[in-house]
């Protein structure tokens, strides 16, 4: 026993190192579950507050006010567009009732932290649960799709951006309607890759890529980018399409968060069908 204690005291530096290093690596590996504890992410009140006051102090005073109003107004107008309403006024449903209720709601939020230079990029927004945001909501800007809300606290939320190798988005070719999965593979922040488009589809450089609307997160036909380069390897049945993203992640300031009040209903129904 005594010799064990003597051994520990003698090698305490190495033992402590191994211990701390293991704890750190455990953090890295359990990253996702730890992320969920909002405390340690940048939607935390302290870090979020710091980022917000920093971003506020770097912004021109007047510009901020005007931008904010414009973004609010945009969100309001967008939620008045015909596309935001459920198109279900069939011949037997001419009466205006609860079925023709609004399908998507847009809320403006400000980006207070942003990165483009890592493999897993996240954004922080200045709105949270108190403003009606929820996890898994889609985030777009005036130019196109930005990402999906991941963690949420009372006043802040973090967003997985498309520039995150952990995120895949269902996307389709606007012209032909073939759909596949859009993902980013690290590297340049202006380009992502669209896969799973079958080789019999016609793909031209310059074709628009939009959201498919098959997930309950984004409405359909929201711009993602355009085709930059098409490659079809010998013997493969799917294209590898390089997509130039329409959003410039370097200068995001205001975004809109898409709420989908009927999402629960859709998911429930899909779940039920799968279980049968």
């Amino acid at each position: 026993m005594r010799s064990i204690i003597r051994f520990i005291i003698k090698n305490h530096f190495t033992i402590l190192f191994v211990l701390i290093e293991l704890i750190s690596l455990l953090f890295v590996i359990n990253y996702n579950s730890y992320q969920r504890s909002v405390f340690l992410s940048s939607s935390n009140h302290v870090t979020g507050g710091l980022y917000e006051s920093y971003s506020n102090s770097t912004e021109y005073l007047m510009l901020k006010q005007i931008n904010n109003e414009l973004a609010q107004e945009n969100a309001y107008l967008r939620s008045r567009l015909p596309e935001s309403f459920k198109a279900s006024r069939d011949y037997f449903n001419l009466v205006f009732d609860s079925l023709s209720q609004q399908e998507y709601v847009y809320r403006a939020a400000k980006v207070i932290n942003n990165s483009t230079n890592k493999r897993f990029n996240y954004l922080t927004l200045n709105k949270g649960r108190n403003h009606g945001l929820e996890a898994e909501m889609g985030v777009i800007s005036s130019k196109g799709v930005v990402g999906i809300v991941k963690n949420i606290s009372d006043n802040y939320s973090t967003v997985i951006s498309i520039l995150n190798t952990r995120l895949k988005i269902s996307a389709k070719l606007k012209s032909s309607g073939y759909f596949g999965a859009l993902e980013w593979n690290g590297g340049n922040y202006q380009f992502a890759h669209l896969r799973e488009i079958p080789r019999h589809a016609k793909v031209n450089v310059g074709d628009l890529i939009v959201t498919s609307g098959y997930s309950s997160i984004f409405p359909s036909d929201i711009l993602i980018g355009h085709v930059e380069e098409v490659t079809l390897n010998q013997g493969e049945s799917f294209y590898d399409i390089k997509v130039k993203l329409s959003v410039d992640y370097k200068n995001l300031s205001y975004v809109e968060v898409i709420g989908h009040p009927l999402k629960e209903e859709q998911l429930e129904l899909e779940q039920e069908t799968e279980n049968d």
Partner: protein, 172 residues
């Protein structure tokens, strides 16, 4: 020894803030990123006990992690770097050993000694950080290139910051 305490507390917060608010936003030709906050561990006094070194390394790496959503990555890289520090200090010791009352900065031991010492630690840190971040060896050479480029960038910043420190210590 005890009068160094406020200086290191200031260093800790200052370097963390600079890293989080300024350097994390720098992008030089794609994804080269300097990590100046390791300077805190590099310049700790020679007499710092081993356990304190590791705990401080963990604390500084972890605070960077919380701000950049990379839980554990910076902490493990910084702790690894701190683990190698005593060995490297012993290997680089001058013939008459380190003078009592001095700290490992350029002001005391000159640019050639300091830059060699710092470069090895920075390289260890960046190597482990970037490989943990990628978590595979499939992109070995592109990752290695990032490690080298970022190390050079960090070393330039460390050199510049030491030039500042130099005039300060002379005035004292």
């Amino acid at each position: 020894m005890i009068n160094l305490l406020p200086r290191y507390i200031f260093n800790f917060f200052f370097l963390t803030l600079i890293q989080v608010l300024v350097l994390n936003n720098i992008q030089f030709s794609g994804f080269v990123n300097p990590y100046l906050y390791v300077l805190f561990i590099i310049t700790l006094p020679f007499e710092t006990p081993g356990w304190l070194l590791l705990v401080l390394a963990f604390a500084s790496g972890f605070s960077i992690d919380i701000f950049s959503n990379t839980l554990g990555m910076h902490a493990s890289a910084t702790v690894l770097m701190a683990f190698f520090r005593p060995t490297i200090l012993r290997a680089f010791a001058p013939r008459d050993d380190y003078q009592p009352g001095t700290i490992p900065t350029m002001a005391y031991y000159g640019p050639s000694w300091f830059l060699r010492y710092a470069l090895i630690l920075v390289f260890i840190h960046h190597l482990s950080l970037f490989f943990i971040e990628v978590f595979s060896i499939t992109h070995f050479f592109s990752t290695l290139w990032r490690v080298l480029a970022s190390s050079v960038f960090t070393m330039i910043l460390i050199f510049l910051s030491q030039l500042f420190g130099r005039s300060k210590t002379k005035g004292r």
